[in-house]
Symmetry: C2
Subunit: 529 residues, 2 copies
DNA sequence: AACTTAGCACCTAGGTGGCAATAT
DNA sequence: ATATTGCCACCTAGGTGCTAAGTT
């Protein structure tokens, strides 16, 4: 029954998931097909289109990013390695000795349960329960230091969709989510600089196919911009400070202007990047750090912070998640949704837009959303009701919806959301549903097969960046972070479940929808002046 | 003729200026009387009431502030000294040896031409053309360092009226003007902390007499709050940084809450304070500076930054100047003034309020007003016209005004403003008149005697370290600004010219005035929601 | 009567995505 | 066609003085 409403591609995905050659498929059919399979937690919609689904990717190209000696052309390993790699690199500027430690201390793992699947093609079922650690180090003293990504949950949400970051010529855009890290194991008396850089993930240029909702390789990478080391403005920190406070890179800004004079980080649009955190032993009487290799440092890489630089958002779901989780974008949240269900049925076109606009609200977690203080609007009772309905939807093997509802659901790409919306008390910001760490044991959410998107060919890190440290991949397991209970893949899975037949849409709700909304304030009221 | 409209006190001031027992007198009569007398540039309305006009005050009590060994009760010297005081204090905590150097290098003078008259009673003619230096130093290496007050012009404007600073229980009020200093003579490689503290000027409590527009001694000081050293959050600075950038204390906040836990500076309301800047040689592996005497430092004191801490503004002219010069108070500027003169005459009561609200605009200098960007509204031609009228007023020995105009002028306290407003093209923000350093050679502006304030007994600062703020964002603002040419006392003189018969008034222009203003936006429009 | 407090409207400053126009 | 740019309305965040009500 569902198939009837699905595009051909989705139907194909449902029938032949493992043979699917298209990278991304968010259709309900594909989702359900996956859901019946393996327990892999999450998919990566923005994964690169690939013609081969047999390819297995690992992350060591990330590590190579910091190994200036490694050049393009080396083939990637095709197995996961659970290693920690520390470079013993002396102040010798260039090629550093790379040490691969087989015994990876789980405690110093940067990657978390989610990160472990980084860049795994969602359409390929692959069993890789062990996470990887990516640590670069040229100083023994720093070896026991741990670095924790504070905003991991939010990063995970974006990572599941394929994080995009806006870059502008003027360089006035921050990163969102913000990189926030904390450290343990530092020496209280020692002083450290905390440095961020952002290095290319591979040597490719990408483009986004709307109709496929997927990223495709568009060719070889453009000439890389000069890689800049962004030293946190509060540096140096004493170890004591680092023990107490979170280091936030909220001020860092991105630009595509190679001539930038403001010290912003320069990136190429439509390229993929990996932020890295470097903890550097502070040397007095030293100016700004310009070459990591001349410092004693240790690097931390969080795979879930990989993103694609864009000048305009490509994936509408990213847009939605940004709007719902970034307080500064609150103006784009659709207040009319609060009362949409009080209204009479509307034409399907509007419904499509409406659901598109709200499809992702389900997954926004206000606890993770930085500075998001809208949680007070939601009562515990409301949340219970919402959860109950989601569970109900999860149990539903049949189709309780009428055709028009199904159509809307397909377009929305968020069946759980859709169903919940039909039953949950109106006026509830769905973004708040997962507040206070609620996880709903929806069977459908829990049993989806890993994505079967076309796996990208092994990526080769471009090693152009100027101050790249020596490196190699390393891995260890679970994140030591006491962050939100995040073990349930159910919570994350539905995020990748969307129809593949997205069309570009205007996120602006038509004026009518707002005007008919009883509680919304007219957005055009200011036009009168 | 003018006397008829003046209060008794003002008349007395006019007739017997040097015998006047009240410190403050802004009446036109008093102003003009002063103007005809000595060439002293400026007056200090908030000067302390004193029963003796023979008392001559100097500033070395300020120096004693940093000498913990000196206690209340020492009598003040009664002559001005042109000295530089450096304490050779070794790390020994308490009583430091105080060295008085007779050869004070004028180049390292913190006080400027205006500052030299600090705390001089406006009604007492005293010839003290030599500026004073207030420098505290316990380190020879720092002796050649100069410190420059960047916001001096604005501080002067406030100082002429008697600066007040709002303090609140919550500690959410900044200082305005902001303390911004720059340094020369620092060693590029050396690192320095720049520290601010604010110490009592005397041992007195004050109250403000509205009808007199003057500050009176209300008794002995309340128990002093713990004196906190506010280390600039960007500390340490390298000498190279200090050469290039202005150190701005814009983030410092004041409170009257002795239990404050935010690290704000704690002050007593209705007490007078002197901010001090300390340049401290940075020692590594040192926590926050809690005791200056254990550091190698040099202190700089700018007498024009003295202020009275208040919980609500006492002097309406201070309120006006704040409103006109602080961008954040722009909402209280009266936009109706732009068209007031297009309207028909109104009842005198309203006119009074109107002029009261605008009396100080003349003296606001947008080049000094921090972040004030309204200057673009004003054309050069407009300014020329305005200046011409001011000069005309300056030449006017007689009284060209009719009685009602005089009344309004007296209430406004700004005759130059008033006159200019009657002739200058309407719609001109008068605050912009002095833009681009225009100085008008008004003879009346040139000859006021300096005042003589009662000298406070030496004070002993309590040095209690604050909990340093832990937030991440740091900011050092400002540019190596070549400060405005500030040599003309004429520019500042008229600021002190105000009637002493001020009554408390509501700065809000009655709704009618705004509604009849053709170009103003109704301030009550938001009440509709 | 003088002083203090808390909430407010009104600002500055700047971070959002939308969107139309432009560039490639 | 796709990608980029500049401007915009709409937000957050927080700095103003005003005001009414409270305190001493």
């Amino acid at each position: 029954m569902l198939l009837g409403a699905m595009p051909d591609e989705s139907a194909a995905a449902l029938l032949l998931p493992t043979a699917k050659t298209r990278a991304t498929d968010f259709s309900i059919a594909a989702i359900m097909a996956r859901g019946a399979g393996s327990p892999q937690p999450c998919t990566r919609p923005p994964s690169v289109h690939s013609t081969s689904n047999d390819e297995q990717i690992n992350d060591d190209h990330l590590s190579r990013l910091s190994s200036p000696g490694l050049e393009d052309g080396l083939e990637d390993d095709d197995i996961e390695v659970d290693v920690e790699i520390c470079s013993d690199g002396a102040p010798s500027p260039r090629p550093n000795k790379i040490k691969i430690l087989r015994e990876s201390p789980p405690i110093s793992d940067c990657g978390s349960e989610v990160a472990e699947t980084d860049r795994i093609s969602p359409d390929i079922a692959l069993d890789r329960p062990v996470s990887k650690t990516k640590i670069l180090c040229n100083c023994e003293e720093l070896v026991n230091i741990e670095c924790h990504l504070e905003t991991k949950d939010l990063w995970d949400k974006f990572h599941d969709l394929g994080t995009e970051m806006i870059i502008t010529k003027s360089g006035r855009r921050r990163m969102f989510p913000t990189l926030r890290v904390s450290f343990t194991g530092v020496r209280p008396e020692q002083r450290y600089a905390v440095i961020l850089d952002i290095v290319p993930v591979d040597n490719k240029r990408y483009r986004y196919a709307y109709h496929r909702s997927s990223w495709l390789v568009a060719g070889k990478a453009d000439p890389p911009a000069p890689c800049r080391l962004y030293t946190h403005p509060d540096s140096p920190f004493t170890g004591e400070q680092l023990r107490k406070q979170v280091v936030s890179f909220e001020k860092v800004k991105l630009t595509n202007n190679e001539m930038d004079k403001h010290g912003h980080i320069v990136l190429n649009s439509m390229h993929r990047y990996q932020p890295r955190i470097h903890l550097v032993k502070w040397k007095d009487h030293t100016g700004p750090v310009t070459d990591l290799e001349q410092e004693q440092y240790r690097s931390f890489i969080f795979p879930e912070t990989v993103f694609t630089a864009v000048t305009a958002y490509q994936n509408q779901l990213i847009t939605k998640l940004k709007i719902d989780s970034n307080p500064f974008a609150k103006g784009f949240r659709d207040s009319s949704r609060l009362t949409d269900f009080d209204r009479e049925p509307m034409d399907s076109l509007f419904m499509e837009q409406h659901f598109l606009r709200n499809s992702l609200r389900l997954y926004g977690d206000p606890l993770d959303a930085e500075n998001n203080n809208s949680g007070s609007l939601f009562s515990a009772a409301m949340m219970e009701k919402a959860r109950a309905h989601i569970q109900m939807w999860g149990r539903a093997g049949g189709n309780p919806y009428n055709p028009s509802e199904l159509h809307a659901m397909l377009l929305s790409g968020a069946p759980g959301q859709y169903l919940a919306r039909t039953a949950v008390p109106l006026g509830i910001p769905t973004q708040l549903w997962s507040q206070s760490g609620v996880s709903w044991p929806n069977p459908i959410h829990g049993g989806l097969p890993p994505g079967l998107l076309g796996p990208p060919p092994p990526h080769r890190p471009q090693i152009t960046p100027p101050p790249p440290p020596s490196s190699t991949p390393s891995s260890s397991s679970g994140s030591p972070s006491p962050t939100t209970v995040n073990s349930s893949s159910e919570l994350r899975l539905p995020k990748a479940l969307f129809p593949s037949s997205f069309n570009r849409f205007s996120p602006y709700t038509p004026p009518m929808s707002r005007q008919t909304s009883s509680s919304s304030i007219s957005p055009t009221s200011r036009l009168a002046h």
